[in-house]
Amino acid sequence: MITKDDVIRWLQRYARLLEEHKEYLTELDAAIGDADHGINMNRGFEAVMAQLPSWQNKDIGTLLKKAGMVLVSTVGGAGGPLYGTLFMRMGMAVGNKDALTPEDVVKMFQAALQGVKQRGKAEPGDKTMVDTLTPGVAALEKALAAGEDLVTALEKAVTAAEEGMKATIPLMARRGRASYLRERSIGHQDPGATSSYLLFKAAYEAWRELDDRPS
């Protein structure tokens, strides 16, 4: 079971990864955007981290929804409504639980993907977050359906997400500021696809040692 503390550690790990990759994300965004994705995501997650202590006694769904609400008012760029929706939909899918089964985790990530697609109206191939989230979620679903444990399933999701992220390099952007560049967006990895990959990576890294925990 994924406990509330595990979810908190996931968010903390994600905030740390965003901090470590701040310049990298901004550079990617400088190539095909307005050069602020790293800065924006960091601002958003710094705000989430600042409020996290006051959410300690909330259930997991509420915690995720509150994180989403903070992001819509602090990220600033397109990542605000997109990640805001992502986290809010995860919160809605989870509901007022204090612990998650592997099935709950899959449903959570499925809701995240649906939310992002509905909000941004992107499809796979548009060179966006959806290009990472789609294979990541698919790998998670497939692994769990095949009877793998959550940590193994997440490892596969991270690999698939990484491939999806890299697959954005040759694509021409069809959403966001990058789409104004048209052919000039080809040859650059999408920043949103990159920060989405880090979300899977953070979950895997935060929950990796669960293998050793008695179930």
Partner: protein
């Protein structure tokens, strides 16, 4: 009377557009500015848009103007957070921000409907400045 919400990545731009629109409507139209982030930097803040909507909401309707495309998603989120019966009376427009807001304020002050105000604001895209 139809009211107006001005959304921009810049607080200064949103405030300035509100000021200009208020001048054109002699202060008779409710106009709220929703620009920039809480730390003073450039960006769109959906909570700020929601606060603006709540401040000026009128059952006659609210027209929401935005500066750039990526403000649309945040404005949509803010509208979704309004009551269901209020959402039907809120419309977003593709109109240019400054010109559209000014025209919308004039039309709203004349008691025009939300649809009419929206259409007039959008027609601003075709207006030439140089003769």
């Amino acid at each position: 009377m139809v009211s107006i919400v001005v959304v921009s990545h810049s607080a200064k731009v949103a405030e300035g557009v509100k000021e200009m629109a208020e001048q054109m409507s002699r202060g008779r139209v409710s106009i709220a500015a929703a620009g920039g982030l809480d730390d003073g930097t450039l960006g769109i803040n959906a909570q700020r848009i929601l606060a603006a909507l709540r401040t000026v909401y009128s059952p006659q309707g609210v027209l929401v103007l935005v500066d750039l495309g990526n403000a649309v998603m945040s404005a949509q989120m803010a509208i979704e957070m309004m009551e269901p019966e209020q959402r039907a009376h809120i419309r977003m427009t593709d109109a240019p921000l400054v010109e559209g807001a000014v025209i919308a304020a004039v039309e709203a002050s004349l008691g025009r409907s939300l649809e009419e105000v929206k259409r007039a604001a959008e027609a601003a895209a075709n207006m030439r400045k140089l003769l």
